[in-house]
């Protein structure tokens, strides 16, 4: 539907795109906060969309990615996962590699 095409545009708009509860300066849920903190550690710039201020987006993003929970992280237009997956990728070093593939150098390498 139209919501799907709107979201498809959103996830292509930046190399890293996050759908979260609240905004990066003020996350409204611990899981969304964890994603913000991880991306901050890697010095990543990203687009963030607050699902709490957009009811259509809150349901639409779940349908789009076929993933039932928020937050959701996209890199290079591809769905990467939620908070657990990002945290485990951060711990294993896979996140640095995934960012590198998208042409982003993690601040943790500096």
């Amino acid at each position: 539907g139209t919501e799907d095409s709107r979201i498809a545009t959103m996830v292509q708009n930046n190399k890293v795109v996050v759908f979260m509860k609240g905004v990066p300066a003020e996350p409204r849920c611990g899981f969304s906060n964890a994603v913000v903190q991880i991306l901050r550690m890697h010095g990543v710039e990203y687009d963030a969309h607050d699902v709490l201020s957009d009811e259509k987006l809150r349901q639409g993003i779940k349908d789009f990615s076929n993933w039932p929970t928020i937050p959701q992280v996209f890199i290079n237009g591809e769905f990467v996962g939620g908070c657990d997956i990002l945290l485990q990728m951060h711990q294993s070093g896979d996140l640095i590699e995934e960012l590198r593939k998208a042409g982003i150098s993690s601040a943790l390498l500096e």
């Binding site: 899981f31 076929n66 993933w67 039932p68 929970t69 769905f79 990467v80 996962g81 939620g82 908070c83 657990d84 997956i85 485990q88 990728m89």
Partner: protein, 93 residues
């Protein structure tokens, strides 16, 4: 005492993944929801079915197994999905 949703989730995970280790924790009390709620869960599934599968596929499989619960009351599900080999390494650390 596990609530009805937790008991159903436990049964589904057991039959879907035949796990060698399964933990299901109702963490709703840590969140701003009424006492006795079944909204926030953490699950640890250790199964040989995860061998050769990337994280995203493992998590999708767990989400699929619990799709009815996620469509109704459960809105947060924290997942750890490991193979028996990975589990053995992580418990030795």
């Amino acid at each position: 005492q596990a609530g009805p949703v937790e008991q159903t989730m436990h049964k589904k995970l057991t039959s879907c993944f035949e796990p060698v280790h399964l933990e299901l924790h109702n963490e709703s009390y840590m969140h701003n929801v009424p006492k006795g709620s079944e909204t926030h869960f953490k699950v640890v599934v250790v199964s040989s079915q995860f061998e050769g599968k990337p994280l995203i596929q493992r998590h999708r499989a767990v989400n699929d197994a619990l799709s009815e619960e996620l469509k109704s009351g459960v809105h947060a599900l924290s997942i750890i999905a490991k193979t028996p080999e990975q589990w053995e390494i992580s418990t030795k650390e």
